[in-house]
Symmetry: C2
Subunit: 325 residues, 2 copies
């Protein structure tokens, strides 16, 4: 044995599994987490939400400016956000880690720490997983969730519904730009945090489902693209007012290098919830729930437009993971 164990290949697969398993915690008596061929989990509702999301080194994150813990947090947040966008609460997660042999155990431990911190935040139980070798680090989470009432799908928007978004947008894109340029400052620090440690809007999603949201999606690929995805799924058009889009106020600190409005309309990974809701419900929703909600437009039976121009022109500027590398 090597006294100076510090990479994945030093520890080996079984040692690594034991190291991670020790950090997962104990399951309730009627469940089995880790250490078996599959996890055994229980559920309380008649249907289960199921999603999967991967982050890949060099594409979705860069260890030059994010830690393993940032990566672990973010992949958990991205999955929790998918569950939130259905109006559900996360329940259980399994993780698959692809780790090159020379991966530092500092990074591996960080990924697990970040996943566990995020799991505690929402909360969700990490119940098992798998480790593979590979040439690049990749972290995949599959997550189950449960909705108390019918899940809010993408396809339910109706002409006349208000089109709304939670929180404010563009912060994550601003944070990424600041990280790439090595910028510093108080507002810039908050933007970086929004990129590295995004929040899934789970409580908001549950409230919006209860308030009668007719369709919902999380803003992961950028507002323009995700409005397009939501309206295409519903077979609807929309008019969006670009001046109504809520822009992250901290983007002012980056105004010399990044147009705040463009960042809010095109930037991805804010993980806010974009949803539609009947005109009659929108007033009490904004006034009565304590959730930051902004109306940005209206669902129509016509074309999809943003500021009078075809939405598609904006979508084509958006962030497609594969086309523009």
């Amino acid at each position: 044995m090597n006294d100076d164990v510090d990479t994945v290949s030093d520890l080996g697969e079984r040692g690594l599994i034991e190291r991670i398993h020790a950090r997962i915690g104990a399951p309730p008596p009627d469940e089995v987490w880790g250490g078996d061929d599959a996890a055994v989990v229980t559920h309380e509702t008649a249907s289960t939400l199921l999603t999967i999301d991967s982050l890949v080194d060099g594409v979705d994150f860069d260890l030059a400016y994010s830690t393993g813990a940032d990566v672990g947090w973010k992949v958990m947040a991205a999955n929790a956000s998918d569950i939130a966008a259905m109006g559900g609460r996360p329940r259980h997660a399994v993780a698959s880690l692809t780790l090159p042999p020379d991966t530092s155990l500092v990074v591996v431990d960080g990924v697990v720490d970040g996943m566990m911190a995020a799991a505690e935040r929402w909360p969700v139980s990490l119940v098992g997983g798998d480790i593979s070798g590979g040439g690049e680090i990749a972290v995949t989470i599959a997550m189950t969730g449960e909705a108390e009432r019918d899940p809010v799908l993408r396809r339910g928007a109706r002409a006349g519904d208000a089109l709304c978004v939670t929180g404010c947008l563009g912060g994550s894109a601003g944070g990424l730009e600041a990280l790439r340029r090595g910028l510093k400052g108080e507002a810039i620090g908050r933007l970086k945090h929004r990129h590295l440690r995004p929040q899934a809007r789970v409580e908001e999603g549950v409230v919006l489902a209860g308030a009668g949201a007719t369709s919902m999606i999380d803003v992961s690929d950028g507002l323009a693209v995700d409005v397009g995805n939501l309206m295409r799924a519903s077979g609807m058009g929309c008019d969006i007012d670009p001046d109504a889009v809520p822009i992250d106020p901290d983007l002012d600190a980056l105004a010399e290098v990044l147009d705040p409005r463009a960042a809010a309309i095109l930037g991805g990974e804010d993980f806010e919830l974009l949803f539609t809701i009947g005109e009659s419900s929108i007033g009490s929703l904004i006034a009565g729930t304590g959730i930051a909600v902004t109306r940005i437009g209206t669902v129509t039976a016509g074309e999809r437009t943003l500021g009078g121009a075809p939405l598609q022109r904006w979508e084509e500027m958006g962030w497609e993971h594969l086309r523009d590398r």
Copy 2:
């Protein structure tokens, strides 16, 4: 648009998702598959089995001698095998594909075809997924399953139980060796098929759970390692008779390059089921169920041995994905 669309980057993420979504098929009325933030699935039992497994190019497969369809089949089979090893039946799956921009659509379509063929075989419903960019192809499946009775865990083996395995072993390792060496022939073709298109022993697992198996695991890392995993989880020892280990008869065709017994004891990815069962049940199990079962040893309260030598010596020769690359 390019008339000669043939790589992932030509099609883009949305085009790729639509292309795959079109092949998934329609869900029952109370479920939602694909095209939303998460899939909505139903379940029939009080608990759910949950597992995840990844295959990575250059580590777990090589496109020089396997097709995309082989890869898609195998990742589905590996997950179904984990569910089978709990005595469960696969229900729903989500897939995450990591695809470099220059990945041929022939490979992508093949992966989906292979997943769908395997999904039909067991059966399991592929209900959603996710696509990421990356530097190497990786395919991850997370799968849910359901067991009619209590899942069979790894930790239930008792001293005196018979230690048994389904089918015969070493075929997958032989097939890999034959593929690497470019060997040909009828028996060798069957070995290659066993490596490229493994079978998950779902029906067998259900029968074994019903017959009273006290612990169970699938043989994915090799018999020696997986016996060790099963006995460690149960806190038990064992005596294994190497002459009783069922060797794939087609390995005779490779005897000049690979010791058949070593392949059966050390080779991975046979996906047969290794299980323990009370002495009193073993006779009727072998006689009465029509499942090919071989007793290879006995669970003890002592050391773990194979042919009188410490099992650990064999395990250290086994196939650890990360240490020996």
